[in-house]
């Protein structure tokens, strides 16, 4: 670990344009891919770490892959580092990388058996930010109360981003909220507008501290079902309209985060529309064709992500056939799946006519859906098949011809499916893309 850290520091220092770090619970990967498109459109060559290689060793591996045989990075002034960093690993990575900008997407409950608790994680972030060079820009989500005033005692430049189009607000904070308190006085927060969970336009009822005005924001958001969205972004220098091939409010957040980061990196405004060139990452509504039928693979691994994915998929009110899967990470003694009880399945009952439940905790998911009312009057036709490949085939058999199948799952099942799809020749292996 210590050797890796030193290697990382040495290699990162050789990147001519420095590096940008993107961290947070959800949206890191997509934000990185959007930003990398804007960087390429600016004539830069982003060195981007692969999905999931977001801890110290993964970054070292990424950089070594770019290095020459002597172990040095090529001296190319178009090179810029773009690193998705695991939220728990930020304190180890930040001091080694000395980035030009750090982008925080959001913070939600995730892997509590690994990260202990949110306030602890935020405190660790604050602590490690103190080691930042004075010139590093902090790119912060103004709508997330835990992030908006992160390390506010530092004089580093800050760019806030957020959503302004209140057309998409929900009636109230929902059950996937982590109910942050005021970052200044720990008082209770009130919201004039909630987009989802605890993201929105907030203000402390006690001391009056309020969401900072973002310099980069989505002024108008058009959501086109489960396929794409149209986002009018305002930055200090331009107002690009982005046609994003990704659905949902959470991708609107990713788009403004990427635009804000591009602004922090002083990319030319002409490069911003390139954010639309983002492609779906692995398991981000990734589409594969099996026997002439579209199958969409989507990762969901925490209450907020799962809920927003389901809301996005089912938001058009058209019933969809699904494979819902859940696994724990028993091999690492992390058997906690309690988070499925914070997914808002209740509000979505009746929209899924049939689902196959899969993964090694499929039965826990079945119990969850039973108590969410999915087996009552508005019953979904549920089948349980813990084996992912058999589950997929069963779900395909049960999906009427011409209709797509939507797979929503935690990582392990998706990797097992991808592995099987690779062997069937239906998708390319990971290293090809």
């Amino acid at each position: 670990m210590a050797i890796d850290a030193r290697l990382l520091a040495g290699l990162a220092a050789e990147i001519r344009r420095g590096a940008v770090i993107v961290t947070g619970t959800n949206g890191k990967g997509t934000t990185c891919r959007m930003l990398s498109a804007a960087m390429r459109a600016s004539g830069l060559q982003p060195i981007l770490n692969a999905e999931g290689s977001n801890q110290v060793t993964g970054l070292v591996t990424t950089l070594l892959a770019h290095a020459s045989r002597s172990g040095r990075l090529p001296d190319d002034d178009r090179d810029i580092g773009l690193f998705e960093v695991d939220e728990g690993s930020l304190p180890e990575i930040l001091p080694q990388v000395s980035p030009a900008a750090v982008v925080f997407t959001n913070i939600f409950r995730d892997q509590m058996d690994r990260y202990i608790e949110l306030d602890y994680l935020t405190r660790r972030w604050k602590q490690c930010l103190r080691s930042l060079p004075a010139g590093t820009t902090l790119v912060l989500n103004a709508d997330d109360p835990r992030l908006a005033y992160l390390a506010s005692e530092l004089d580093n430049p800050r760019i806030f981003y957020g959503l302004a189009d209140i057309e998409h607000r929900r009636s109230a904070v929902d059950c996937t909220s982590d109910f942050p308190r005021c970052p200044r006085c720990t008082g209770e927060l009130g919201y004039s507008c909630v987009f989802y969970a605890h993201l929105g336009h907030w203000e402390c009822r006690h001391c009056g501290l309020a969401r900072p005005q973002p310099q980069v924001y989505a002024a108008k958001i058009g959501l086109a079902g489960s396929a794409s969205s149209r986002i009018q972004v305002v930055t200090p220098t331009s107002e690009p309209v982005l046609e994003i091939p990704l659905p949902g409010l959470y991708n609107a957040y990713n788009a403004v985060a990427a635009t804000a980061a591009a602004t922090a990196c002083q990319l030319p405004s002409i490069a911003l529309p390139a954010v639309e060139n983002v492609t779906a990452g692995f398991f981000r509504m990734e589409r594969v064709t099996i026997g002439g039928r579209d199958v969409h693979l989507t990762l969901a691994k925490n209450p907020n992500g799962y809920t927003e994915v389901l809301r996005t998929l089912l938001g058009d009110g058209r019933p969809k056939h699904m494979l819902l899967a859940l696994n724990d990470r028993a091999s690492e003694q992390q058997p906690d799946v309690s988070w499925i009880w914070d997914i808002d399945f209740e509000s979505l009952r009746g929209l899924v006519p049939a689902a196959v439940l899969s993964g090694n905790r499929a039965i826990d998911l079945a119990v969850r859906l039973k108590y969410a009312g999915w087996m009552g009057a508005a019953a979904a036709d549920l089948a349980i098949e813990p084996d992912p490949v058999r589950g997929l085939n069963l779900a395909l058999e049960r999906t009427p011809a011409g209709q797509p199948l939507w797979v929503v799952s935690t990582y392990q099942v998706l990797w097992q499916l991808r592995d099987w799809l690779c062997r069937q020749g239906l998708v390319s292996a990971l290293w090809d893309s």
């Binding site: 509590m112 058996d113 003694q333 058997p335 309690s338 009880w341 039965i363 119990v367 108590y371």
Partner: protein
């Protein structure tokens, strides 16, 4: 049979529902609904008073160290007397994790002054291991003294399954009765006992959340709450095949893990 109705007091719904705790509430409400028992949920937040005559079943969930500090005094001073009174009148109560800890006599964090408890249970809790509030505490240090894993408890003739994740050790006073015996996991403090039971009030480290996979425990709480209000506490049997399968699957899996560990050692 006359219509029956239960009032559920949900303590600190925002601060203390950090680990899927809404699943416990859902379990209680659905199992009442399926039997034609009406429920009414009263959310009891910071500062809200509690009328002991008006709550038949209290639920308090789990929260982090910040939330524990946030609610401790309110729970001890504002709500504690009424909760003790209600339980002595026969109300049911389920307290999980940090909620369980704060219903004891006191909670001693690894640094700083102790937090007051509501003294419903004759228990006390000592936090061990790393100080999460220390700026330099790394994740490895934070996890070192934590008990993280499955927890299986023998409760009468039943097995309860769940998950535990805590750095605190809870100790029972002379007048306290444990909820059950640990089969897999650590429980209160490693002495083989888990949780506490006082009449119809239960404190436990079982998360998961604990009620959905343990319907017998849910029904115990509902029956206790009904008895307080009605002469008739009869509960119709429900088809619990799925819940039992989930529980038995967990027990089977753990037995296999345990056997493998024994074989490896």
């Amino acid at each position: 049979m006359a219509a029956r109705k239960l009032a559920i007091g949900y303590l600190y719904p925002e601060a203390m529902s950090g680990y899927g705790d809404r699943g416990n509430l859902a379990s209680i409400m659905r199992r009442c609904e399926w039997r034609g028992i009406a429920t009414e949920v009263r959310e009891l937040r910071l500062g809200d008073p509690v009328n002991p005559d008006e709550v038949d079943l209290f639920v308090i969930g789990d929260g982090g160290e910040f939330h524990q500090r946030l609610i401790a005094t309110d729970l001890a001073d504002v709500k504690g007397p009424a909760i003790r009174e209600a339980v002595s009148q026969g109300s049911a109560l389920l307290a999980v994790g940090a909620g369980y800890e704060l219903l004891g006599r006191f909670y001693q964090p690894c640094r700083g002054v102790e937090l007051p408890g509501a003294s419903l249970f004759d228990t006390w809790t000592i936090q061990q291991g790393a100080d999460l509030t220390a700026a330099s505490c790394t994740i490895t240090e934070a996890r070192a003294d934590r008990v993280i894993g499955d927890l299986v408890v023998q409760w009468g003739d039943d097995l309860l399954v769940g998950f535990e994740n805590h750095s605190s050790r809870t100790y029972l006073g002379l007048t306290a009765c444990a909820l059950g015996h640990v089969v897999v996991g650590q429980g209160n403090n490693g002495d083989g006992l888990e949780g506490v039971r006082l009449g119809g009030a239960i404190g436990t480290y079982l998360r998961g959340p604990c009620l959905p996979r343990n319907p017998a425990l849910t029904d115990f709480l509902i029956r206790t709450a009904l008895l307080r209000r009605y002469a008739d506490a009869e509960l119709a049997a429900l088809p619990d095949g799925l819940e039992h399968t989930a529980r038995d699957t967990a027990v089977r899996r753990l037995s296999a893990v345990k056997r493998a560990a024994v074989a490896a050692s």
